[in-house]
């Protein structure tokens, strides 16, 4: 039991299959009610796709797991309706200090870029995120969340999957058109389907200690390379909610996990680190190892893998839960279009293509951090220490110090859903990029760009004066809006003074951040996917090009 958190106990309800109901076939079943499975279920349910979620447990994740939630994940969670709860409960930090042996090498201030709704990162214990997601999931009548439902067999056929599920009332059979597997790194479903996941195990062990600080302690991230209180290894200190601090000690491969977990072993380590008589209380201790690996493809017929079940990274760089949440963001709009018959199932191949690309980027970045933090050879250690020595005085060396890179979303530059640029644009909002945020005004109220796009295809048209948008243009757009994908036309203007076209939203870019970040000039047109990635852009509105780009982005070309 933790002193700062009481685990909720979610009630088990006997499933309809075991209550004399007729067995039915479901459109989508999600296995695993962790942060990623719940994100998938909420997004599907709120977009109108009924979903069943199976989880073997009846509470949230136990102990210390995910800690850092990055800006992009928070933006996705905003669309799911839980972003604000996470930001309110989480803590943000800006100052990071890096120490090498006795000395501070440098510190940085992660001041967030101005004019984005969400900060670069918040720290929050994973159980809070899951709790907020469960609360949200329960608001949807078309979301059937089943606790104490353990999947004991999975069979995949051409048109779906059949599961056997064990509950306190015995075993029942369940059939589904689509199966979303979100049951984590040791995925039982993946094993039951005899699918492989390849990669490497890092020969190192780490001790996690969560402590409650009794006195005030700086709200900073501290990272030590080879500190005097833990020679030859690295140590990370991170603040979480409720005054709980996560301390991560590298132990080396030969350490004995059972021995290291003992309080009489852990407490002196922490005392040596704090260096004074500061009082603290031990809340949680565990020892972990990690692997870096991924499946070859994340789709296998009608079985779709998300999160740690599909890919695993080292914890340095906050790319586990963050990338899993982005998986579901990428997957769910595609799955909805396929289920509704508006796109062919080949659209789901692009889910695998795009998220494998993202997983490889995450694997690369987290492996690089791991190699810097825990050098594997004498030469590698020599370069690491030389970099740290030079970093005290020289900017170039500071840029090489890698104690974990900020988790940023992949820019899907290689995606087959993108329409390549034919016009010239400056800046980073290339086809495949997740959109940058910008402050906006809508109907005279302050708002954010990212709160006004997503969930469907959006066409953003930048104009000098909304009143001058021609009837011809609106007429050309109408057949698209009336088509199966039903995109919405949204105007963006620096200033809204006169009349605006009836029934069309107009975002006012008063601060000019949109124009700046999207290199927009009057006429600039962006086609935005339901997951807020740029699909295509032009310097002038052209309904025919839009239609083709939308077809490309949904594999209906």
């Amino acid at each position: 039991m933790l002193s700062t958190y009481k685990y909720p106990k979610y009630e088990y309800t006997r499933p309809p299959e075991q209550s004399g109901g007729t067995p039915q076939r479901y459109p989508v079943v999600v296995v695993g009610a962790g942060p990623v499975g719940l994100a998938a279920a909420i997004e599907l349910a709120q977009s109108g796709v009924p979903v069943v979620v199976l989880d073997e447990d009846d509470t949230v994740s136990v102990g210390s797991r995910g800690v850092c939630y990055a800006k992009r994940a928070l933006e996705v969670l905003d669309r799911l309706g839980v972003g604000q709860a996470c930001v309110d409960k989480g803590v943000s930090w800006n100052v990071g200090r890096t120490f090498f042996r006795e000395q501070e090498v440098y510190n940085f201030n992660l001041l967030p870029q101005a004019d984005h709704k969400r900060p670069g990162m918040i720290n929050l214990q994973q159980y809070y995120l899951e709790e907020f997601e469960v609360q949200r999931a329960r608001e949807f009548p078309n979301l059937d969340l089943r606790f104490k439902n353990k999947v004991v067999s999975v069979h995949s056929q051409g048109a779906g999957a059949t599961l056997q599920v064990e509950t306190p009332d015995g075993i029942y059979t369940l059939e589904t058109d689509w199966l979303v597997v979100a049951d984590g790194a040791r995925s039982g479903s993946r094993r039951m389907l005899n699918l492989d996941i390849d990669g490497k195990i890092f020969k190192d062990r780490f001790l996690i200690a969560d402590v409650v600080m009794k006195a005030d302690f700086p709200h900073e991230r501290w990272f030590w390379f080879d500190p005097p209180f833990h020679p030859g290894q690295s140590v990370l200190l991170h603040r979480q909610s409720d005054n709980v601090y996560r301390i991560d000690f590298q132990l080396g491969w030969d350490a004995d996990p059972e021995e290291e977990k003992k309080p009489e072993k852990v407490i002196p380590r922490i005392q040596a680190m704090l260096g004074d008589a500061r009082e603290f209380e031990l809340e949680w201790v565990s020892v972990y190892t990690f692997q870096c690996r991924r499946m070859n493809a994340f789709t296998h017929g009608r079985v779709l893998f998300v999160g740690d079940a599909a890919h695993q990274v080292s914890p340095f760089g906050a790319r586990g839960a963050n990338s899993g949440i982005q998986d579901t963001d990428n997957l769910c709009w595609k799955l909805k279009l396929v289920i509704e018959g508006k796109a062919p199932s080949s659209l789901l191949d692009s889910y695998s293509e795009e998220r494998v690309f993202a997983a490889d980027e995450n694997l690369m970045n987290s492996t690089r951090s791991t190699d810097f933090i825990t050098p594997k050879s004498k030469t590698s250690l020599m370069f690491r220490n030389a970099t740290l020595s030079l970093a005290r005085e020289h900017a170039f060396a500071r840029a090489l110090v890698n104690s974990g890179r900020l988790s940023v979303p992949a820019i899907l530059t290689e995606s087959s859903l993108n329409t390549p640029d034919s016009d010239v644009f400056a800046g980073d909002m290339v086809p495949g990029a997740p959109m940058d945020d910008a402050p906006m005004r809508l109907d005279g109220k302050d708002s954010w760009l990212l709160d006004n796009v997503g969930k469907r295809f959006i066409v953003l048209l930048y104009v000098s004066d909304p009143a001058t948008v021609s009837a011809t243009l609106l007429d050309q757009f109408k057949p698209l809006a009336d088509g199966p994908l039903a995109p919405e036309l949204v105007l963006v203007a620096h200033k809204v003074s006169g009349a605006t076209p009836q029934g069309t939203r107009v975002l006012e870019d008063q601060a000019g951040r949109f124009a700046e970040r999207f290199d927009a000039q009057p006429g600039s047109t962006y086609l935005i996917r339901p997951d807020q990635h740029v699909a295509a852009r032009w310097r002038a509105f052209d309904a025919k090009k839009l239609s083709q780009a939308m077809a490309r982005a949904t594999c209906t070309l």
Partner: protein
């Protein structure tokens, strides 16, 4: 030109979206260059690297400055 001590890594034809990427690309290549070598082989590779890069830089004033900084705190 004086010794450049600001971040300076780049690769032609490559577009960077994040400031940390070019330095990390370099560092990974550096560590990969030493993969599976003995300590002695690695020391030899490093010596050759210094000579190759020194010739590329050419300007002996700049090289002396680099050698001075590299030697600092060694004794």
């Amino acid at each position: 030109m004086p010794l450049n001590l600001k971040p300076n890594f780049h690769e032609s034809g490559k577009r960077y979206f994040h400031a940390f990427t070019p330095g990390d690309d370099f560092y990974e290549s550096l560590i990969d260059t030493h993969r599976d070598l003995t300590d002695e082989q690695s020391a030899m590779v490093n010596a050759k690297l210094v000579l190759l890069l020194a010739n590329h830089v050419g300007d002996i004033t700049v090289l002396r400055e680099a050698m001075r900084i590299a030697r600092q705190d060694s004794q």
